[in-house]
Symmetry: C2
Subunit: 515 residues, 2 copies
């Protein structure tokens, strides 16, 4: 038993956990490249030019497979959508053009916007395709939390909230330690002293283990040529009345959201452009699939293109079409496969971007990061790039709550922008005066997409996931929708790799049988 | 009394604290510009071309004062020192040349390296002088903590350590909440439920408020095409045996170190270069002050320059020479002023930089941030810039512990590099094979500096700070050394502003008296 011995049930639990858990973060290097196929390679038809389709086309191309991508939209990239000056936003019923000024730093990532280092597939392609990265900030303590129910509705700096809650928790833990009945033997005075010191440091408590405020919260004044003056701690009741503790406070602890996060310099679609350098000639845009038919030799796909009905045959088909859309397209998939396909649900996600005439947030000491509010807009993101430029693009709303997304989906773009301005004004009182040229993207209404990430209810995940992950004949459903990371580009990449590995296995088997 | 009521002594404390502490972070905008002086303005002699001297020269120049900066070293910038290919490191007894390859991304910030947004003076100059900024990462959860006394000496990811310690603390708090005697009335079932939910989210505990591991720690495997497999929690005794809890764990909570941190694109000396665009013609390099003499009309300074004794007179003198060096230079300062000047102590700070042939840390999922070890090297910093380049500059040691600094100061540069390689190898086993072209900077031996930040023991701060902050005649001691932020450029800037404001006050008074 170690220096500190048992502390309540925890130590028992840690002991029960067994051996020392020193494990490296699983860092998967480059994908195993496909074995090159000799001569005129097999033909693969890819439905959808999102990240999974582009990944597949890129890898298949390197190995000598023949590929065609049919993409229903006017653009490749799927939900990897970065809008700039003049771009068309193809939302059904709400078509919009982006009116941002024509400057390199004025863009909005409407879909994915950040990359954690643990997404090693995407990091691999960024490296290989020359996509420069910069740091992204999920957790800027100078940003605000705002809740109508707390602090009189006024925004509070995250640093202040977090420092106070740590102070309170530190006191609570110190109290707990002081009561011997909480501590199982063996636990001696030295152990207790060490744990108390930890708690003191944790909460920045006084020597008496009481919290009286801390410089961590930011100062009222001083600290440079005058002595520092600490803020008074907030009332604990106010801290707990705020919604912030119930989720957002812990947001940047999540494996996918913890620092250091990264993002491509110049916009997330740099990833798409990287793939396009190698795959652009394989893509047929505005090609809308109408029928997917499996047979023993392969797959036949009928689609509309330029007003004409066309048919394409291939040895394999990688199908990236959203499951709920594919379920409505004519097919002869096996019944069990069709059943799962039709049962996968869809998330809803909604973003609003504004061009700000002036980077007013910099005057408030904010240079990147996220403010949180319990209003529908949920988040305000400040750009991590373009510091000190005159203008900037601010994410003025980002919600993944289906109820909120439905509310915004029912509004016109103008109504959405007005709502976002009114709500944002509770975080930044002068907000509205800085804003111009807003865009709104409601993924559940975006053409050819009609939703965001797949959502697998637990029972379906247990029963149906492996079925849909496996091929039906020579047809594979792929994309982040067929991964444990829906809504992330890494899920799309890994799903593509998963299907490609199976195609390679089959091609190897065929070659051995032919030999 | 609020929704949650009292929780032990904490709520009482929060109540005692009085009113709602909703205060904005004090964001001081631009400095008040000096009132322009008419005609041939007063002459100001500035001793030292570090950040405080450059700030003063810049502001005085804008207002029409005549300025000369005498700088003892061969370069301006003071401790704002960024070394690149070919640069000379003027350490007494250990002169070195920087042998990094000649590439823009291969540099080492030997002094200041990061900027918090609350340092509004420096941010103001970055904006005004065109210094582009990027995010800097103090807290990358993919970095390691390594301690010979814990985890068998093996490095553990910060994410893993932090997730486990939160799990344990969450359990401890839950236990405390379950014991009613810790909770003062009024505290009802609903309050308790809310607080328990908070604790559950905090530690990512199970519904039974037990910790069994979390994805926050990083996964053993899965999560993309296979279900995720959680790491087993480490033993609590191992977590507490590590030095990490006793400081470094809380490092990025500090106001000056909390996210979002920033750094100039291209190196911290971009700040110096920004000032030099406006002040370079005022600087006399290699001018070593030998005597500072005050009289009623102003200040007379004798100095050595090009082998010759020279004398310069001025209406005012801003003296940025380190206090402990100035105390040894001939002067006629008042006795009380001299006494404080001689009593200020000096910190010791030590950095080692290596050029890495390969950015091996990226293969481990590290793209910026700091690893911690209880060995003398203390920290390893991975560059936040140059991602995916072949080479990179790694900070292989950074200590501000005077005992450690003394140990390194006594070694030759070669011995220091060998020690840093041996110690770094405990964090990254293959470390040494990647390293080439190291440089070492021991500030206590750096010419004309002989130490780092000022250190004011508490009694001296109470008695002597205001005395040294006030002028002696027309002579002002300035620099970060005369601030509550020694070791930070913001301290230097604010100290310069403080002296300039007093000069302006005196000039205004003189003008009114003359009128």
């Amino acid at each position: 038993m170690g220096l500190l011995g048992r502390v309540g049930g925890s130590a028992a639990l840690f002991q029960a956990a067994g051996l020392l858990g020193v494990t490296a973060m699983p860092v998967q290097a480059a994908p195993k490249r496909l074995t090159p196929v000799p001569g005129k390679g097999p033909k693969v038809l890819i439905l959808g030019a999102g990240i999974s389709g582009l990944t597949a086309a890129y890898e298949l191309g390197l190995a000598g497979y023949r590929c065609t991508i049919l993409e229903a939209s006017h653009r490749p990239g799927g939900r990897n959508l970065t809008v700039r000056h003049g771009d068309f936003i193809d939302e059904l019923g709400n078509p919009q053009y982006c009116r941002f000024d024509d400057k390199p730093h004025l863009y909005l990532n409407c879909g994915p916007a950040r990359i954690p280092a643990s997404h090693t597939g995407l990091m691999h392609y960024c490296r290989e395709l020359g996509v420069a990265l910069q740091l992204f900030s999920n957790d800027n303590r100078n940003c605000y939390t705002q809740d109508d129910a707390a602090f009189g509705g006024k925004p509070v700096r995250l640093a202040e909230y977090q420092a106070d809650i740590r102070g309170f928790m530190g006191e609570l833990m110190a109290k707990s330690l002081a009561s011997a009945q909480h501590l199982d033997a063996p636990f001696d005075e030295a152990d207790l002293g060490q744990l108390q010191e930890f708690v003191r440091l944790y909460g920045d408590l006084g020597a008496d283990l009481k919290y009286r405020g801390t410089e961590r919260a930011g100062l009222v004044s001083g600290g440079f040529v005058d002595p520092e003056m600490l803020k008074k701690p907030n009332r604990f009741s106010d801290l707990m009345r705020s919604h912030y503790w119930a989720g957002a406070l812990h947001f940047a602890e999540a494996a996918d959201q913890a620092p250091a996060m990264m993002t491509p310099v110049g916009g997330m679609d740099r990833v798409v452009q990287g793939f396009l350098k190698h795959t652009a000639d394989k893509i047929r845009l505005k090609a809308q699939v109408q029928k997917v038919w499996l047979d023993e030799q392969g797959v036949e796909v009928s689609y509309l293109h330029g007003g004409q009905q066309k048919v394409e045959r291939a040895d394999y088909c990688l199908n990236c079409i959203p499951t709920h859309i594919m379920a409505g397209i004519d097919n002869n998939f096996p019944a069990d496969y069709r059943q799962v396909l039709g049962a996968v649900q869809r998330g809803k996600l909604f973003k609003i971007g504004f061009q700000a005439k002036e980077r007013f947030w910099e005057k408030e000491g904010i240079y990147s990061g996220i403010s949180w509010t319990n209003q529908d807009i949920t988040q305000i993101w400040y750009p991590e790039h373009g510091t000190f430029e005159q203008k900037g693009i601010l994410l003025g709303a980002y919600s993944w709550d289906p109820t909120i997304a439905d509310r915004f989906a029912a509004m016109t773009p103008d109504q959405r922008l007005k709502a976002a301005l009114a709500q944002g004004s509770k975080v930044h009182p002068d907000y509205a005066q800085y804003m111009e040229n807003g865009v709104t993207v409601c993924w559940q209404r975006m053409n050819h997409m009609l939703g965001c990430s797949s959502y697998w209810p637990e029972a379906l995940l247990a029963d149906g996931f492996k079925r849909l992950q496996a091929p039906a004949g020579r047809h594979y459903m792929v994309g982040d929708q067929i991964s444990f990371h829906p809504g992330w580009q890494e899920g799309a990449i890994r799903s593509a790799w998963h299907a490609l590995a199976d195609i390679e296995r089959r091609e190897g088997q065929r070659a051995r049988e032919a030999a």
